[in-house]
Symmetry: none
Subunit: 201 residues, 4 copies
DNA sequence: TATGAATGAGTCTTCATTCAT
DNA sequence: CATGAATGAAGACTCATTCAT
């Protein structure tokens, strides 16, 4: 049998992460015991501690996995040779779709980051800020180009938009009226609309 | 000396609530022990349990206090005889200013609601939904009147906006560049802009 | 309003005792809080501590009340100028009827005496021993007179019988098949039968 | 060293049970803290909770152990091809001897069963009732055969006798005048005597 | 007499983590 | 690689009792 793999077709560290993410999203990080995680993954505690030095590491890894993925996708979109409005629309819609596709990760991110030790929080926050800054640069680019209204601070716009994104877990239901793509389009539309220059009056 | 009051000029239940809110916002509900709360309030555990049957009750009460306040303010604004766009702008800006003025409560609300027993969560969610519906009715009114673009679901707009509001705690700093009122105006502007009907193309 | 009395027609100390006895019998001494007792009696804690210096005192008083009553009844019966077998039968049946009539007290007695401080336990035990000795003297009198078999230790007989009596609370139901008087007669019959001298073989 | 065993030559769960039984019998279940139990067993609380999910479980297990043993012994005796009077005498004497040999368990049983959650009480009571019914069937068999007097309800006799047995803990002392076997014989004699048919008068 | 706010010591229980095997 | 028994520190909560009013 391949080392580190189990019959379930997924490497054990991966499986632990997946299971932990689901449980954290369902019941919260602090109310989920290591015992529950390993039981749900079908192994014992020792096995988990072999791969993760601490429960916190699971959380940390979940964050990094999500941030890594979003950063990669954003970079690909930013490199796309399209007008800035189009690029921002693509990026915004993609963030929404990705967040919904990984709603558990996003939920955990939002709900539990404050439970990490402060220095780890700082690291995660720094990574997220960097991501936001990339996004903000798109907005600023459009403002400089006159495509977007200049009278609203770009970072405020970014925080405004990501607030909406982070809040998806609170209301989006996969069996609801709207598909993830539709939500993504609506959100991107709202963002772009709100950035349109004021019409001449 | 009045019963139930201490030298600190505030009734003990109130003081406990204030102190708990601050600690919850700072370190999270789960990482704040009852012992820390009562120590910060200068009393013993027994005193707290005399007023609150459980640690959860503090959380619950914080939520209800916040929701109560916001509902009252919203109602006052909705009753104002102004054009719908004006009323929505006022309401949106006020929500932001109020949320910032009670940033600890709002932060705790966002971070810790999922830690309540499920039935209590339901109660809180129901109250919040009711509040959102009032807000949504403003959007719908404007859509029917042709003031707002009709092609975006009103409830999605509300969730979009309140996501941004709930996220304030993650970035707003009282010593920052913008005053609460300015943030409120910007947020309301962004909301109204995004609802402007598409320009004829 | 008469001092120490309430509208309920019973002096407060009495009512507290009655209520406490019922609760102790239902849920056990340790699982009954002082708060529950005073709530059930419709007063506050201060009122109770005015009459009883401690929760233990309630227990103590319940025991003494029961022992006092049984001792008085036994003395009356022993003074009756009847044959010894008759007196023992009367006494045995009366103990049963009295125990049933005060089943809560008897239950509490049995279940909770060991919770008293050791010195109080000693006092109660001494009183009970004295009572048992009176009973034993009846048995011995019958043995000396040749009415009862002499080959069984009188104190063992007494413990045997009172075991049965103390156990009444475990099975007797007032809505059951047998009346208290019937149970008393049966128990007394069993006792007397078991004391009959062996038939010549 | 064998897993789960300590230098004291007994598996930890067993040792905890033994120690707990002694303490419960001495001071009562409620007045015995988990801390005292684990200290007396020479381990930490965590170790105990590794084997017993709750303090209640210790109690439950003590009961079941005792009931299991008594049921097995009774069955062996009932299968003995002897006259019914002989079988009942054997069974009665054996119950007494066994109860004395496990006086701590029996004492705890009697004193603390009412502290269990109600549903657990029901389970224990059901098991005990079943046991009593076996015993009762012996009495009834003798009544049908004319060996025992028929005018006393068989279940009342059983309750009468087991009352005496349960009460052993209140007076029997191993350093006393009578050996367990002697007490067993006396109790069985008393029981059989009380069941003798009335002599013709 | 009676109140009820407050105390403080104590309770059971949970759980992340370690380590000998 | 993996087990699971055991640790140890911390957690929420209870409750008899006191005392100023």
């Amino acid at each position: 049998m391949p080392v580190g793999r189990t019959g379930d077709g997924e490497a054990l560290p991966q499986r632990l992460l997946t299971v932990a993410t689901r449980l954290f999203a369902e019941k919260g990080f602090e109310k989920t015991s290591v015992q529950e995680i390993v039981a749900a993954a079908g192994v014992t505690k020792g096995a988990m501690y072999h791969y993760f030095a601490a429960k916190d590491d699971l959380l940390q890894e979940i964050y990094e996995r999500l941030l890594r993925m979003q950063r990669e996708r954003l970079e690909a979109i930013m490199a796309d040779p399209q007008p800035v409005a189009r690029r921002l629309h693509l990026a915004a819609a993609d963030v929404v779709v990705t967040a919904i596709a990984n709603l558990d990760d996003a939920t955990v991110f939002l709900q539990s980051m404050h439970l990490l030790p402060v220095d780890r929080q700082r690291a995660v926050r720094a990574a997220r800020r960097e991501y936001h800054e990339r996004f903000r640069s798109l907005v600023e680019e459009g403002q400089r180009a006159g495509t977007f209204r200049p009278d609203v601070p770009a970072d405020l716009v970014v925080d405004y938009f990501f607030g909406a994104v982070h809040h998806l877990g609170a209301w989006f239901r996969s069996d609801g009226r709207l598909t993830p793509a539709q939500v993504g389009t609506h959100f991107a539309d709202l963002l772009l609309s709100s950035l349109r220059p004021e019409p001449a009056r």
